[in-house]
């Protein structure tokens, strides 16, 4: 297993009030993304655990593109990867960001 930690600065904090959201499944070609609002508002971290080693630069590129587009400040994304392609990773990250930005509060 390879673990990667990517720490980025987000220009805007994530909207909404949810504390956490989870999307996806650790199946073949898919991944699960757990989003948790646990960081300072300008921080965004991605913690990736994957059995497919050697793709650090690709993860970096997808993560930078995602944070640039969505700016989910204050959110840590924890990823368990089942061998997803970069486009699936981008979609799951966007889904997790959208879900945690919903208005329904976490109790």
């Amino acid at each position: 297993m390879e673990t990667l930690t990517i720490q980025l600065q987000a220009p805007q904090p994530a909207r909404g009030r949810r504390a956490m959201a989870i999307v996806g499944v650790v199946g073949s070609g898919d991944l699960e993304v757990l989003a948790e609002r646990v960081l300072a508002a300008e921080e965004c971290h991605l913690e990736i655990s994957t059995a497919i080693a050697g793709f650090g630069p690709v993860w970096q590129a997808v993560a930078r593109d995602f944070v640039e587009r969505r700016s989910p400040g204050g959110v840590r994304f924890s990823i368990n990867d089942g061998g997803a392609r970069p486009d699936i990773v981008a979609i799951r990250l966007a889904q997790a960001a959208r879900l945690i930005e919903e208005d329904q509060p976490c109790t």
Binding site: M1, R18, A19, M20, A21, I22, V23, G24, V25, V26, G27, D30, E32, L34, E36, S49, T50, A51, S78, N80, D81, G82, Q95, R98, L99, E102, Q104, C106, T107
Partner: protein, 318 residues
Amino acid sequence: MHVSRAESGGDPVGSRPAGAGPRSWYEASARQRLDLLLDPGSFAEFLAPPDRVVSPHLALFDLPHQFDDGIAVGRGRLGGRDVLVAAQEGRFMGGAFGEVHGAKLTGLVKAARDLASTPVLILFDTGGVRLQEANAGELAIAEIMRAVIEARAAGVPVVGLIGGRAGCYGGGGLIAACCSALVISEQGRIAVSGPEVIETNRGVEEFDSRDRALVWRTMGGKHRRLIGAAGTFVDDAVAAFRAAAIECIGENGAIDAAVLAAEQERLDTRVQRFGTMEDGLDIWAALGIPDPKSVPGMPAETFIPLADQFGVNGHDAR
């Protein structure tokens, strides 16, 4: 124990969009099933993903873990009544039972046993025991079966819902057999040995696992309803499973020596009536179904009254 509100979705449809058509049970993820099955917003998860209670074994095989180990357990409400509920995710390791996965279900059912009044729903979607942690998984199956029987002895209905991709195989099939009621859709399958296992052990002449029609008329939802293995057949829609589950949790799920004797007799009768038959079609003909060949292609609304008329009543014993 961490308890958090459900706020999840396997795809963008995490909440209920207005005007959406019936949602397929088969296509939904475990978390989407919970979201749509229970009363809106009522699910509170035990050992939720942020707790990161993951398999201690998978990393040894260089396999990725999942934060819920492939099963979401918690409490919620169904038709206004408190329930304990577990949903297996069939797309993670085939929904298979590992050490943590199994312990979560054992704990849930034991809690139901101790509460002695709160029904349990098990949303099966499993190929059986996870081979990478087989000893722990096998032990978990035994513990869950014991807990289910103890819960039922305390008067708790334990209802299995079966209609997912992985079916309900291996130890999942054994646990299902211990439940007080089973709800199944056409896509659902119940068996212990799966098609590939039978073919591997006994040869393709015994069972051709690639013959999907054969698989379904041996293990599929319609056949299981007709021979009384599952009491309720529903269309592949979350709303249909919800309506059936509400009905089943209102039934008496208790087990005692008399119920067990009746169940044994029911199974003996099944072997006597159908034990020598080669194919599901022969059994359906023996049940008196006028055109058995038409059963696989039949829509749910046609099949349900047919099964009520000709099928074995699954509620006789259990």
